[in-house]
Structure formats: C-alpha cells, structure tokens
C-alpha cells in the first residue's frame, strides 16, 4: 500500500524533500547521516562528478521492520532496493548504480520513527565506483578479565582492488594491511563508540567504515549469536525438518492447499527457491501445531496439521513429490501434536493435545492406517492441554509424557500432568507424586539434562504469571523433582512470557540452553543460566541445522536466524530405526566424553506450535574425542558406537553396532524357577536394583521393559513360551533364555 503511494508520488511529482549532492570522485566518499520522522519521504540524490557509477554503503542505521522502507533508486529511476535490511538493521547494505546517479530514500508511515524511538540513525557513504571495496567483518572480543574493556577483531577477508589498506579507528590507532588478515584493535574502555575505517590507499573512493561498535559492560556475553536473513517462505512457516530423506533439515511452510519446502542442498544451506507441492484443500491447517515423521516408513516425511476443529495428516508419496490428505471427522481443538510409538509395535502413532476435551491419539496399524482414539492420556473433560512432550523422565527406557496445561477459571484443569509409561504402553498420571503438578498457566515446557547428571530436568515456561511464574525443576533421579528456580539465575532477569519453550545447546558448550520466546537462557551446566534477550524471533520458531555446520539455527516466518558459531565441537546423529520406528523417535541417546555423559531423547514435537529437527544434536565444548555413543532404541535394541568422529553428522542404523555381551558385568546370574510361573526370581551376586530388564520373545520383539526395584519380575502378563531376559547397564548387556509356563 505504502509502496504504491510512493510510486504515485513519484509519478505525480508530489512534493517531498529532495537534496542533491555531487560526489567528487577525486575527493572520495560523501558521508550522510539522517534520522527519519513520521510520514517521511525524504530522498537524497547523489551524482558523480565524472560520470562514474556510484556505490552506497550503509555503515549503520535502522528502519521499523515491515513498516518503514529504505528505497534505493538507480540512475534511470528504477528501483534497486525496497526493504528493511536485516529485520530493520541496515548496516552492511551496499548498492551500486548503473550510471552517475543514485537516490537513497526513506518511506516511513505515520508511526514509529528514528527520532522518537531512539533508533540508530542512518550513516551511509556514497562513493564513486572506481574500485572494489574491501570485505570486512567485525567481532567484539571480551577483555573483561584483563583491561576490563574490549578488543575489536577486524577480519579483512578481501582487500578488494587495493594493494594496501590503511586501517584506523576513531581513537587514534592506525595500521596497514596488504592482504586478507585479521587485525585486533584495542583494548577500549567499555561503552566507547568505536568506528573502524578501512581506506584503499590507491583509490580514495574505496573507503569502508564500520558502524559504531561497542561493548556496553562486562556482563557475560552470549555463547553464540545469530545473524538474520530472509527466506521467502510462502504460507505459515511451521517446520525445520528433513522432508526428502537426505537427513538435512529443510524449511516447511503450509497453506490449506500448499506445502512449500526450501530443501537444504547437499552443499550446505537452503536452496534459493522453494519447491511448492500443491495438495488437496486441507480440512484443517496447522494453525495450532505441526508435527512431522515418516509414519508410513517410505523414506519421506509425513506431516500432521493440528487445526482448530480437527486433525489432518498429509502423507508423502514414495518420492516425496506429492501428499495425500487424510482428515479425521472428529472435532479436535488441537494444540501441541507429536509423533511417538505409543504401543511399542515399531509404528509411529500420533498424539494431539485437545484444548477443550480429553486428548486424542491415532494408532498406526503398520500399514499406514490411523485409527482415532480418545481417552487414557489426559482425560480432563474440559481439556486444558497445551504443550505435550515425550521424554523418558525416569530412565526406564520408555516414553513418558508431560503436559503443560492452562485454563482460566479453573482449579484442576490447569494442573500440569505427567503420564508415566510402565513399559507395556500403560500410562499412569503421576505429576503430584513427582512434585510437577503445578497450576502455572503454561503452553509448553523445555526438558533436558541441564546439569548433565543423567536425567531430564524441566523448565516450565509461564504463558501468564497469573497463577505462578516460570519454574525450573531438578530431576533428583528418584522420581522426585526439586524447585531450583531461585538459584538458577533465571528470575528476575527473565521477564518474557509466551507459548514457546525448547531445549538445545546453541553454543555447543556441552551444556543445554533454553530458548524461550526469543530469549536464550544459556546453560552453565549446573542448573544456572545466563539470560540473553532478543536472540531469536519473539516466538522462537523451528530449530534445526539449516546450513549443516553443526550449530543450531532457527527459522521463524521469513526470518532465518543463522548461528554465528564458535570454536566448540559437536556431533549430530540421525537415528534410523529398523525394528523401531524409522525416525528412532523415543530413542535415548547417550554421549560419553571425558567431560561426562550427555543425554537426549529423540522426539517429534516440542515447544508449542513449531516442528524442529528430528536429528539429535550435541555440543561437546572443547572435547576432541567421544568415548562412545549409546543408542537405546524403542525396540529394545542397544547400539554402542565406539569413538565416533567429532564435528560429524552420523547416520546410525538400528543394530549397526550392537552392544556386546559383558561376561563380567552380570556374572553368575541365575533365574528361578525355570520354567517360570507368574514371578521370576533373579539371583545375582551384583546389585540389580535400578538396572533395566527387558524381555524379548523368541522373534526378538520387545515384550516387557522395566527398571528393577527388586530382584523379581512379575511376568504374569506373558503368554506361555520361550523368552529372553536381558539385563543392561551402561550399554553393556547380559542375556538369558527362560520358559514361561
């Protein structure tokens, strides 16, 4: 609308401020600063003295993203640019004319402007395009421990057409560079506004300046930062997940009749254009959530749309080029949705939170047919179910489900729930005995082992503080949780509320972080966090590794937040199930390094609305070796991969590195009686309490799974026949046959 207005103004030559400046090619760049106001249509017109083309370089500056446009016009009046830079940040933008004139304009609307809202004013240079500018990036280096201030690293990646450059700051330092190099200037006192100038010694027109660079204070800098760029997603952006079986995260956006995918290319990074797949007009769209997994095991990812009045599945065909819609007729006010194997038959089922009714789930018969069910997994008649997440909170090798709940005018419907899996697909609600039955009005929770002690802790993020605020709960490893919020550093620093909470290691330091509504709570590995606001978009978005560099990126709408990375090491794992579901959802992944053990649960659907990568990601800090990687598959299979390479994306197929029998671990174990009646007794010289016992039938299918609380197992649920008992500890196993009478 506003763009049209400007065009009409141009055509009609309606009045607005125009200033014309001559750029003298023998004197170098002309610098201009400007701070725009409301309804501002100011234009700066530059003409070169000798007919040379002109280059505009923004050193710094800001516009209101999506409302006030920067417009650059070429010599012939055609538009070179009309946009908002990097989410409103103009620094680093450069434009070149084809001809001797270039015009720089603002087109602001009636509200929010540079003058009234404290924006960084425009600071741009216009120079004659007689030479190629050097390419430079700047990084602040914290020197709090020594000088109490900071350095600036000046990374000259290309000196352009110069043979030598003069690099100087506005504090009196200068040096020369004759090739690509990294220079360090400083130290500077905190809050000093430093501007770095880089001058082509052979051509005065090729000078580039940094915007103002400073470190405000010595509070801990974030472990990593993100650079935003635009991906022209079309529809509602919902997922960062591999769609086409190359295990690289793609970006998925949805409308009621389109699945729009930016595939990640094998060379790294998203394709420049989207692949649009037209679908039937879906009965439901993923307004409330999207979940993704290959539930029909054909190698291509299927989608679940959680809509306001029902659930639609979009099933990918055998080459991922088309989708078949399967819409249920049942009324479901969907909230968070997940794919998970509920009955451990190796097929992915789907779970959907219901806002105003008991939760629903869809059982997969193994032929891709889904059957609607309601009841047994959160049966509050009035619902209140917002954020389901599947984790193994009690380390007994099955998926439990925590539900973040929310409801006004209620005393029970808003109480969070934990549905504990007994290993046979039976669930019991146990939140109150765990200490997790909170009334916090919450739409999602972030689970992870924040202190790397081997069990999953939880951050329950408040959507409203009306019934209590954010809460961090430490898993004590004995089916109790302790409120550690007060010592966590989260409050009072963290003031966001909202729907979205998720767990990743964004800085790859080996300590899990929490992304909460655009802020990142950087974990210190001891259940304390350092809060950094405005790191990501305000509702987090989808997480994945969109450029395959081993650092977690985010996408929200059309904004890609690319992790700026650091020197930390990492490893990524794709879990490909064989007896288990093909995505390995529900697998527990354990990573052992000299620093200790980290754990992850493979899951589809965390946070509230978005779908994030199905790959499992670990940061390992400065560790350069991984001792081993253990995968406990939902089928009961255990793979133990010795010394996997770091900084590598490993594709692990279930059963490729089976754990070996350990003769010494469980020596002299006997079962009696054998044949067994209803109760199996295990005699063992070593303590078995807390060890995982799994019973397989003779075909190798997992029949029972439990964490031993005594040296006995109730096997009354087993039919007559031959079985195998397996005992497991730290990835090592002992197996023994027995007969059930």
């Amino acid at each position: 609308m506003k763009k049209i207005t400007l065009l009409i103004c141009l055509i009609a030559s309606c009045f607005f401020t125009v200033a014309q400046t001559t750029v003298d090619c023998s004197l170098g760049a002309v610098n201009t600063t400007y701070c725009y106001t409301n309804d501002d249509l100011t234009s700066f017109v530059f003409v070169s003295s000798d007919g040379s083309d002109l280059v505009v370089t923004f050193n710094s500056g800001q516009v209101e993203n999506e409302y006030d446009e920067l417009i650059i016009l070429d010599t012939n009046g055609s538009q070179i640019y009309n946009g908002y830079g990097n989410n409103g940040d103009l620094s680093g933008l450069t434009f070149q004319s084809s001809g001797d004139t270039i015009t720089v304009s603002i087109n602001s609307d009636f509200a929010i402007n540079c003058t009234d809202n404290g924006y960084t004013q425009w600071d741009f240079d216009v120079s004659c395009a007689t030479c190629a500018n050097p390419s430079v990036t700047y990084n602040i280096v914290n020197d709090c421990d020594n000088s109490g201030g900071f350095f600036i690293d000046i990374d000259i990646t290309d000196i352009g057409s110069a043979t030598s450059l003069t690099v100087s700051d506005n504090q009196g330092s200068a040096t020369q560079a004759t090739a690509a190099t990294i220079l360090q200037f400083g130290p500077y006192t905190n809050s000093t506004d430093v501007i770095i100038s880089i001058q082509n010694d052979q051509d005065i027109n090729c000078t580039v300046n940094s915007g103002s660079i400073t470190q405000v204070d010595c509070s801990e800098p974030p472990g990593t930062t993100f650079t935003t760029s635009t991906v022209s997603t079309s529809g509602s952006q919902r997922a960062a997940v591999d769609m086409n079986g190359d295990f690289l995260d793609d970006v998925v956006s949805i409308t009621n009749s389109n699945i729009n995918i930016f595939y990640q290319e094998s060379s790294g990074g998203l394709s420049t254009s989207a692949t649009n797949i037209v679908t039937t007009t879906a009965d439901n769209i993923p307004s409330w959530s999207l979940a993704a997994a290959d539930y029909d095991r054909n190698g291509y990812t299927d989608l679940l749309y959680g809509g306001q009045n029902g659930v639609t599945f979009m099933r990918a065909n055998n080459n991922g080029t088309a989708f078949t819609e399967i819409s249920g007729s049942q009324y479901v006010f969907s909230q968070r949705s997940n794919f998970v194997d509920l009955n451990q038959d190796g097929n992915l089922d789907a779970f959907v939170c219901h806002d105003v009714d008991p939760n629903v789930y869809y059982m997969n018969d193994g032929s891709g047919n889904l059957t609607f069910n309601q009841g047994g997994l959160g049966d509050d008649e009035a619902g209140g179910n917002y954020g389901s997440i599947w984790i193994d909170y009690d380390n007994d090798r099955d998926m439990d489900m925590f539900i973040a709940k929310c409801r006004g005018g209620a005393t029970t419907i808003n109480i969070n729930e934990m549905h504990e899996n007994d290993g046979s697909g039976n669930f019991t609600e146990v939140a109150s005995t765990l200490g997790l039955a909170d009334p916090i009005q919450t739409w999602s929770s972030a689970w992870g082992d924040f202190d790397n002690d081997g069990d999953m802790d939880v951050f329950v993020g408040a959507s409203s503080t009306a019934n209590g605020t954010h809460k961090l709960m430490r898993n004590n490893g004995n089916s109790t949780f302790t409120d550690v919020t007060s010592t966590s550093g989260i409050l009072p620093a963290f003031t966001n509320t909202g729907h979205e909470n998720a767990t990743y290691d964004f800085d790859n330091d080996g300590n899990l972080d929490i992304a909460s509504n655009g802020s990142i709570l950087f974990g210190n590995g001891d259940l304390t966090f350092t809060v950094h606001d405005n790191m990501l978009g305000i509702t987090n978005g989808s997480f994945g590794d969109m450029n395959n560099d081993g650092f977690i990126d985010a996408i929200l709408g059309t904004n890609l937040y690319t992790n700026d990375t650091n020197s930390n090491n990492w490893v990524k794992i794709t879990t490909t199930g064989v007896a288990s579901n093909i995505n390995g959802i529900g697998a527990r992944v354990e990573l052992h390094t000299a620093s200790g053990v980290q754990i992850r649960d493979v899951r589809s659907g965390e946070g509230f609305r978005y779908m994030s990568t199905l790959n499992t990601h670990f940061g390992i800090g400065t560790e350069t070796e991984i001792t081993n990687l253990i995968i406990y598959w939902p089928s009961g299979t255990i793979d133990n991969i010795m010394n996997p390479a770091i900084n590598t994306h490993h594709i692990i197929t279930e059963g490729q590195a089976l754990s070996v029998e350990d003769e010494t671990l469980f020596q002299n174990i006997t079962i009696h009686p054998n044949p067994v009646g209803n109760l199996m007794n295990i005699d063992s010289p070593v303590n078995l309490i807390g060890k995982i016992a799994t019973i397989f039938n003779i075909e190798g299918k997992r029949m029972m799974n439990l964490k031993l609380e005594e040296n006995k197992i109730d096997v009354s649920s087993l039919r007559q026949g031959n079985y195998i008992l397996r005992l497991e500890s730290n990835g090592k196993v002992h197996t023994q046959k027995f007969i059930k009478q």
């Binding site: 409302y67 009324y331 009035a382 006004g408 005018g409 909202g498 509504n517 305000i538 509702t539």
Partner: protein, 371 residues
C-alpha cells in the same frame, strides 16, 4: 415419566391489562384467583418440557413454534428477546426466545449478571441467513437450546434440514458453507456449527455451563412484540417470568452500531457481549490481564490501554496502543481470520468489518500516554 407443565401466561397478560395503571411495585397487586367459580378455559402454553428426556431428537417435539417450523412463530409463553448489542457470528442473523414453566420466575441479581432463571427455563436461539446465494433466499442453519435443570444448564443443538422443515439434534460439531449478501456485499463463510465442548468453552463460569446474554444490562430496551412495543424487562415481568423488583435505574449497554452514542460506550458494549465471556474472572481466559465486562471495562488497564500482551505478536506493542490501531493487539486479532490469531477464539471465522472499523476509530482517537 412424561408430564407437561402448562403455562398460565394468560393470567399475567390479563393482569397486566387490567392493572396497567397500577404501580408495578404495589404488593397489593395480586393475580386473579384460580378458584373463581366462573371457570373459563385458560389458554396454556403447549411447550413440552420433559427434563428427563432432554434433549429430544427433533426441534419440533418441543412445540416452541406454531404453524410451519421455519416461520418460528412462537407459541403462547415463548417470548422473543434481543440483546441490545449482539454477539457476532459470521453475520448470521438470530432469533431468540425464552420460556419458563408456569409457576416459577427468574429473579434479578445485578445489572451485569444473568437473571437467576428457574429450573425448566428454555433459552432458544436460531441462527439463519437472509439473501443466501444463488437463490437469494433465507436459510436457517441451527437452533441452539439451553435448558436449566436441577443440576444446572444443559446444551442442545438442532441442525436444520435442506427442506427447512425440521431440525435434528447434533452436538458433534460440523461445518456448512454459506454464500450470502450482506448489505449488498457478497460474503462467504464456512459456518461452524458447534460441538458441546465448544458450547462450554464460551458458556461457562469455572466449569459450570451458563447463558451469556440474559442480563438486565443487555435487555433494558424497547422491543416490537406482536402486540406492541415494550421494554423487554417489563415484558418478562408482565409475563410472570421475572420478579418485579428491578432497581429504578439499570446501567445499560448501548447498541454498538448506534453512531449517536459515545464511541467508548459503543466499544465497551461490543466487547462485553463478544469478548467478556472469556475475559472476566472465572472464565476460560481469566489468566490474561484484560477484563472486558461492561462494568469493568471503563478502567483503562482492564480494557488493555497501554497494557503489554502476555503473547507478543510481531509489530504489535500494547493490547490497545493509543492512537495506533496498527500496533494494537486487540485490533490485530479482531482484524485477522487466522485461527491462531483471531479473536474471539470461537464463533467467528470471517472479519466483522463494521466492528473492526469502530475499534480502529476508537483506538486512533485515544490520546493516553503510555509509560
């Protein structure tokens, strides 16, 4: 057990006629004695109330209407009413009726609260469209009922057949497409017929089902009845449906579309009937900071002026950002059709253009300075 309670409405009508000059609050005004020797048959309401058999399979079984069902001509004792400002449901038109058994009446609680209706009360609300395309005819979609039982209010919904001859019980929820002309403009909706869970989402306090509109503040207005124009509350009193003890003045909403009224009253009246069922104490979303009931919304913070939203939306600042509708969450949500953003949460799938314009004018006219 089947029994039919007969409405002695004629008594009330008769007494109203006979004593129309008398002081309504005069306690000496008594109905005609039933054991009068000169017995004349008293017309009785034919409405069928069988609380144990609620809900019936079809709408016609209740006998709410005379003649052709689709004409919705109420039988004796079924009284039409209309709130001064009404809930928007995709431009559907509505007919509303109330019925009570003969020997009971509702009592006044407060201007802002539901009249306290007796067991056996039916509330009847039919949703229909005029100028439905391509034939430009009238189409009745559904008739919703609420019945007050000993255990509380219960819902029923009756979906009309294509022939418009009968409506059948259905609380499973469904959609139906309607193309219609609204003020000369073609519009289209995938109209949502609610399920019982959706009924409860709006119609509840804590988790108990309740009506919404039947409050003195919404009914203190004139209505054109078949037999003349009358104040709706007075009509209920005269019918014997409401105890005759109303206060002298009632704090009353305005008709939101009445441009002669102050815009803040129009806005507050609109958001009361459209939004307050979720945004007041003990309601679905009472954990959000806003309070939209008519008696609460004169407070600037309650109505969201300068209030930060719990849930941020890109580009928005406050729930109501003075002078900036484009940066106001309230305006954004009312002006959106996307399920995840639009408000009200239920009952609307297309934009109420006229109301959005009013909200925009109101916000743009605000001059408050936010901190």
């Amino acid at each position: 057990m089947i029994y039919t309670l007969r409405k002695l409405a004629s008594i009330a009508i008769l007494s109203a006629m006979l004593f129309s000059c008398a002081d309504d609050n005069d306690p000496t005004t008594t109905p005609i004695s039933m054991d009068d020797d000169d017995y004349v048959p008293i017309p009785t309401s034919p409405v069928v109330l069988e609380m144990d058999n609620f809900p019936f399979d079809t709408l016609s079984e209740y006998n709410f209407f005379d003649g052709e069902l689709k004409e919705q001509n109420p039988v004796l004792g079924v009284i039409p009413y209309e709130p001064i400002s009404a809930l928007f449901t995709d431009y559907a038109k509505k007919k509303r009726f109330i019925w009570m058994p003969s020997d009971v009446e509702a009592t006044y609680a407060a201007d802002t609260e539901l009249i306290d209706m007796p067991v056996g009360t039916f509330l009847i609300k039919t949703f229909y469209y005029n100028n439905v395309q391509p034939d430009n005819n009238t189409r009745i979609i559904e008739t919703r009922l609420m019945l007050k039982k000993n255990t509380g209010w219960e819902f029923a919904d009756y979906v009309w057949n294509d022939d418009q001859t009968e409506a059948t019980f259905d609380l499973n929820g469904s959609f139906t497409n309607v193309d219609f002309m609204e003020n000369g403009t073609p519009k289209s909706t995938n109209y949502r017929i609610p399920s019982d869970a959706e009924c409860l989402t709006c119609h509840k306090s804590q988790n108990n089902p309740i009506p919404i509109g039947v409050k003195p503040q919404n009914l203190n207005s004139m209505y054109d009845y078949v037999d003349g124009t009358k104040n709706q509350l007075q009509k209920l009193i005269d019918e014997g449906y409401l105890e005759d003890n109303l206060p002298a003045t009632i704090n009353t909403v305005v008709k939101w579309s009445d441009e002669t009224q102050p815009i803040d009253l129009r806005v507050r009246s609109y958001i009361d009937i459209n939004c307050a069922h979720c945004h007041q104490e003990l309601s679905h979303c009472d954990y959000r900071p806003v309070r939209f009931a008519f008696n609460e919304s004169s407070d600037e913070t309650n109505i969201g002026i300068c209030v930060d939203p719990d849930t941020e939306i890109p580009g928005m600042r406050n729930i109501v950002t003075p002078a900036l509708k484009e940066r106001s969450v309230m305006y954004y949500r009312m002006n959106s059709e996307a399920e995840e953003f639009r408000m009200p949460l239920l009952g609307r799938s297309i934009i109420h253009e006229e109301a959005v314009q009013m909200i925009g004018e109101w916000i743009d006219g605000l001059t408050n300075e936010c901190d």
